[in-house]
């Protein structure tokens, strides 16, 4: 499975440093994709040993696992931020909910919403591939 395209448009209010904001969005998207598709903690049922104890087994997404993101912004100044400059928070929105849910839907398994279920996703995907091939 690979993600061929990902477009995101955000309203962060007034942006002070666009480069840093874009970097935050990239990081958030990658983290969301990781939570949705590749990351997952697994413990051995008998011993309680953490099986995904290193990055050999815990799949943190790397740069070549994600596409070149297309990101855009719209600036609507925030009216209730004490800074008075119309600032909103940036970047984190991708990860906290939207990024991973969006990726979940693309993967065709909206029932799995938790990061811990990524391996389940992978298995469901493997099973459906085998059914198709049979």
């Amino acid at each position: 499975m690979s993600i061929v395209n990902f477009t995101a448009v955000d309203d962060f209010g007034k942006i002070i440093n666009p480069m840093i904001v874009e970097g935050q969005v990239h990081g958030g998207l990658t983290q969301g994709i990781g939570q949705a598709l590749t990351e997952g903690c697994h413990y051995d049922k008998e011993s309680g040993q953490l099986v995904t104890g290193s990055y050999l087994d815990y799949c943190m997404p790397r740069a070549d696992d994600v596409p070149a993101f297309k990101v855009g912004t719209k600036e609507t100044p925030c009216t209730h931020n004490p800074s008075g400059e119309g600032l909103r928070r940036g970047g984190r929105d991708r990860r906290s909910g939207r990024g991973d849910e969006r990726a979940h839907r693309r993967a065709g398994s909206s029932r799995h919403r938790d990061a811990g279920d990524a391996a389940e996703n992978l298995r469901a995907c493997q099973e459906s591939k085998m059914k198709k091939a049979a």
Partner: protein, 265 residues
């Protein structure tokens, strides 16, 4: 990590001497498995003998019949070698797909073979191409070399010096990689040479193995459809959180078919 002594061997004979003296001594090639195992305290050698300074262990020699690769040759060197790309392109592309860039710049063919990780890539090439593993004591045929999970025919004090690959008529390697480690969940190397067709599977079982039914079918007709319906029984295959045995069995057929397709291009 437990404490250990470190020394740089000046020659293969020098390293063999230390190995023979100390049963808990170990060889350090590229360190891509050993260092990780030591950090996790899974390995605790008394003595680490670094082979990195022995120049004659590194390098590639190729002619029209065979490619000989020194044990300490890094994966990146094999991947980018013009000689390997010309003689056995499948071997160069296999090396280019091992781990990630950092692993390829450090990891060595000798280290990979001596470790015989069930999911390593090189064992598939060595077995399918019918290569010969050369040590400081003897020459070992591929069919005799791989003995089981992390087990090889290497004896105590025996050090791999090079590997000699006969040049095949055509060959290809296809792997379905684990996205985290990039090790093979299943990798299939198909090679056709004057002596017949060999199909070697890595990642699926406790150690690399050949599939006789596929070899026979491909010898009769070298085409993707020859292997498309040959299923390998799931009994005895690896089952873990990344893939169950039935999925690995399924992947062997898929990867074999793709490897034949690639070899025909």
């Amino acid at each position: 990590m437990y404490s250990f002594n470190y020394q740089k061997a000046k020659s293969v004979a020098d390293a063999a001497k230390v190995l023979a003296k100390d049963g808990d001594a170990t060889l350090l090639a590229g360190g891509q498995s050993l260092i990780a195992a030591m950090k996790l305290r899974l390995a605790h050698p008394s003595e680490v003998i670094d082979l990195g300074a022995i120049k004659e262990l590194s390098g590639i020699k190729a002619d029209s019949k065979a490619v000989a690769i020194g044990a300490m040759t890094r994966h990146a060197e094999v991947a980018s070698s013009a000689a390997v790309n010309k003689a056995i392109p499948a071997l160069a592309s296999l090396a280019a797909g091992i781990g990630d860039r950092m692993v390829r710049n450090m990891g060595t063919i000798g280290g990979s073979l001596a470790n015989n990780d069930p999911a390593a890539d090189y064992p598939a090439a060595v077995l399918a191409l019918g290569a010969t593993v050369v040590t400081n004591k003897r020459k070992i045929a591929a069919d005799e070399f791989f003995k089981g999970m992390y087990e090889t025919a290497l004896q105590k004090g025996e050090i791999i010096t090079s590997v000699s690959f006969p040049v095949p008529k055509r060959a290809a390697y296809m792997k379905f990689k684990n996205p985290a480690s990039r090790y093979a969940i299943v990798g299939v190397f198909v090679a056709e040479s004057g002596t017949g067709v060999r199909v070697a599977v890595t990642g699926a079982g406790p150690s690399v193995f050949r599939v006789a039914a596929m070899e026979k079918a491909l010898a009769a007709k070298f085409a993707p459809e020859s292997v498309a319906n040959i299923a390998v029984p799931e009994k005895g295959l690896n089952s873990d959180l990344h893939a169950k045995a039935d999925y690995r069995a399924h992947l062997i057929t898929v990867m074999a078919r793709r490897a034949v397709e690639a070899a025909m291009k």
